[in-house]
């Protein structure tokens, strides 16, 4: 027989076997940026989901069936939408998990909502994701508004007393990159600061792809702020802090875990990164404050992640990937009895896991339909961390803090 025909036959056979196997597994779609500029976090998020899947499968799967991931790669919003379409139409999936970045999530969730497919967002924080009254979109992580509020609260409750200022006289400057993440966070920061009647000295927007921020630094320096709140990515946060040091602009900075809170940021700035704050996912405390079962799960996750990543401690993005999938496998799917979107929705809405009982110290309770943040996990919590001796320590809010703010 011709070798080519043989190979063809084997492939067909493999496909048939695959089809047969597909009958008795739970097939779940993932949409994440696995290539492109956001791939770094996208891959880590996927690794988190993958480890959760391995862990659940090794303990017998969900309702006796194994979970199989159908992974899609989307580095741009258009790709996120078309991949969502493909997963729904061609792969016939009814559940999708994703999407790492807000702009990708915004595009993919629209497709899911139109097709009545259950969409679990585990990392995109833009408040708009759960602000459009969608029925099938649920977010396990905190929203950008929740994070921004904490950043402002930290400035008022912790920084102002340290600087011997009262909240109203604290001069606050806000800068943000002009993408979906920066804009929504920047808007939320301003909104909360205004609601508290704070003194906003400057608000500036810029593109994260810039090669220079010296003009911005000099402009900020002139407005003499007491504290600077930022929503930046890695590259631009490094550039901004380097040029600030150069031009001798030095104020306490509260950034986010998308920029200031990344290991790359610390390794670029080392000593100059000490004391810098980052709002975002509170990964540090969670494990110690968990109940015994949750502690074991999270500990197992950390162990596996480190084993496959040269001992690297899971980054926040890997944690939320794991947490989202774990909530789906442990809390939502068993109650829904499978992957029917309507039943998943009902199961999700009926959930009330108190804080401390979900993985990562978060409880799970989704905001009901009709609420302004329908589908948002109201028990999710952001936190403020600070670089202290090369480690990102959680310092705020007080109830979950693991270290003292310096």
């Amino acid at each position: 027989m011709n070798a080519r025909i043989l190979v063809g036959l084997v492939l067909i056979l493999a496909l048939l076997v695959g089809q047969a196997a597909a009958q008795d597994v739970w097939r779940i779609g993932t949409i994440l940026p696995l290539t492109g500029p956001q791939a770094k976090n996208g891959i880590k998020n996927f690794d988190g989901i993958k480890i959760a899947t391995d862990m659940i499968n090794e303990t017998g799967g969900v309702l006796g069936k194994k979970v199989v991931l159908v992974s899609a790669d989307a580095s741009e919003p258009q790709a996120a939408a078309s991949e969502a379409n493909r997963l729904i139409t061609n792969e016939k999936l009814t559940v999708i998990v994703g999407t790492q970045s807000s702009s990708l999530a915004m595009a993919a969730t629209v497709v899911a909502e139109q097709n009545k497919v259950f969409y679990l967002e585990n990392e995109g924080v833009s408040s708009q994701i759960t602000g459009r009254g969608f029925k099938y979109v649920f977010r396990t992580t905190f929203s950008g508004d929740m994070m921004a509020n904490q950043m402002v609260d930290y400035a008022v409750q912790v920084l102002a007393p340290k600087l011997n200022k009262d909240a109203k006289s604290l001069r606050m400057a806000i800068i943000h990159e002009d993408g979906g993440f920066g804009t929504s966070t920047g808007t939320a920061l301003q909104k909360h600061a205004k609601a508290l009647g704070l003194n906003i000295a400057a608000v500036e927007t810029y593109s994260a792809k810039t090669a220079d921020l010296s003009g911005l630094v000099l402009k900020l320096k002139q407005s003499k702020p007491d504290v600077l709140l930022t929503a930046q990515y890695i590259n631009d946060s490094i550039l901004f802090h380097r040029q600030s040091a150069e031009l001798r602009f030095s104020v306490p900075v509260i950034g986010t875990t998308a920029g200031q809170g990344t290991p790359d940021f610390y390794s670029a700035l080392t000593k100059e990164a000490e004391g810098i704050l980052a709002g975002g996912i509170p990964s540090e405390i969670s494990i110690d404050r968990l109940g015994a079962e949750q502690k074991a799960d999270a500990g197992e996750f950390v162990k596996r992640y480190q084993a496959s990543h040269n001992g690297e401690y899971p980054s926040p993005t890997a944690f939320v990937g794991f947490a989202g999938a774990w909530i789906l496998y442990k809390h939502i799917m068993p109650k829904a009895g499978g992957l029917d979107p309507e039943k998943l929705r009902e199961a999700a809405l009926a959930l009330d896991v108190p804080p401390g009982k979900g993985v990562l110290n978060w409880g799970v309770k989704f905001s009901p339909p009709g609420a302004p943040d329908a589908g948002q996990n109201v028990y999710a919590s952001a936190g403020i961390s600070q670089w202290q001796d090369g480690k990102l320590r959680l310092v705020f809010p007080k109830e979950i803090a693991a270290a003292e703010a310096k």
Binding site: P37, G215, Q222
Partner: protein
């Protein structure tokens, strides 16, 4: 705006412009001589930055000394790329050349992502943290002005290269050959000039220059697989504005864009800087399509016959 601030903005702008100029020289050289738009230029810059980063990270070689390795390496890469991707498309329609170069850039980008992951990597040199401080000059009421040494080095090297190139092209015999080829390929061929050799060396020299730029930029900028994409847009603006093929034009246009950017940041706001320099870009294209320093007709891309 007081004098100190004005001077600080001007200096920051000029230094930024120096970086733009330095990274664009290779691009304009290749375009000027070969009429080929190297869409993978940003990716070659990325390779150079990575090479310099790894030499520092693994072998502790100072980025400035690594030029001795990175520049020849990029020259070699240039020879290979010329043989593999550029030469076969020389006679092809212009569109095919664009496809090949854009395709090459995508391949390089993704290979980099595969090999080096999407981590953001930096080189921090302690001796560059010591800033150069000018002033104060109380007599004219000016306070201190701060100069970033890394950018100053890039600025000086960029300027020196362009001056050296200018005289090389004007005065040397090889320069004459290159100019002859650039001006009229067919006549140059009739005069017995080895066109293939001129193209080969020009392309490789363009990459050598981007190699120098990469090594000089790594102490200041973060390298990641998409860093080329971040710089390439402004590089094209610099090259077209300066007059395609004009090395001196590229330097002056680079400085202009740098100063414009920093002042826009300060006066209007950093969100409008691209709008401002693209407005200038469009205005120049409308009023003087050959760019500020280009020869008339330089912007027209002639189609040339295949070599061989």
């Amino acid at each position: 705006m007081d004098l100190t601030l004005f001077a600080q903005l001007l200096i920051s702008g000029l230094l930024l412009g120096g970086v733009y100029a330095l990274s664009s020289i290779g691009l304009t050289l290749i375009f000027g001589v070969m009429k080929i738009v190297n869409f993978a230029h940003g990716e070659f810059l990325m390779i150079a930055m990575y090479l310099s980063f790894w030499l520092h990270h693994l072998l502790r070689i100072d980025p400035y000394l690594s030029i001795a390795i990175v520049a020849p390496a990029l020259f070699g890469l240039g020879l290979l790329t010329y043989r593999g991707c550029v030469r076969p498309t020389l006679g092809a329609p212009h569109l095919s050349q664009i496809f090949v170069m854009v395709g090459l850039s995508i391949v390089i980008e993704n290979v980099a992502l595969l090999w080096w992951s999407a981590d953001f990597r930096t080189v921090s040199l302690d001796y560059l943290r010591a800033q150069i401080v000018l002033g104060p000059w109380p007599a004219v009421g000016m306070e201190e002005i701060i100069v970033n040494p890394g950018r100053l080095i890039a600025f000086i090297v960029g300027l020196s290269i362009s001056v050296a190139f200018y005289f090389f092209l004007k005065l040397s015999y090889s320069g004459k050959i290159i100019r002859a080829t650039a001006q009229d390929r067919s006549t140059a061929l009739l005069m017995g000039i080895d066109i293939d050799k001129v193209y080969r060396t020009t392309f490789a020299a363009g990459l050598l220059l981007v190699g120098v730029a990469g090594a000089l930029m790594i102490p200041m900028f973060t390298v990641h697989p998409f860093v080329g994409f971040e710089f390439v847009l402004v590089m094209f603006v610099v090259v077209v504005l300066g007059g395609m093929g004009s090395v001196v034009g590229a330097v002056l246009a680079g400085l202009l864009i740098g100063v414009l950017e920093v002042f826009t940041d300060f006066v209007i706001g950093p969100d409008s800087k691209q709008a401002v320099y693209f407005l200038l870009f469009i205005a120049v294209l409308v009023l003087k399509p050959s760019g500020l320093f280009g020869l008339k007709g330089e912007e027209e891309i002639e189609r040339i016959e295949a070599i061989e």
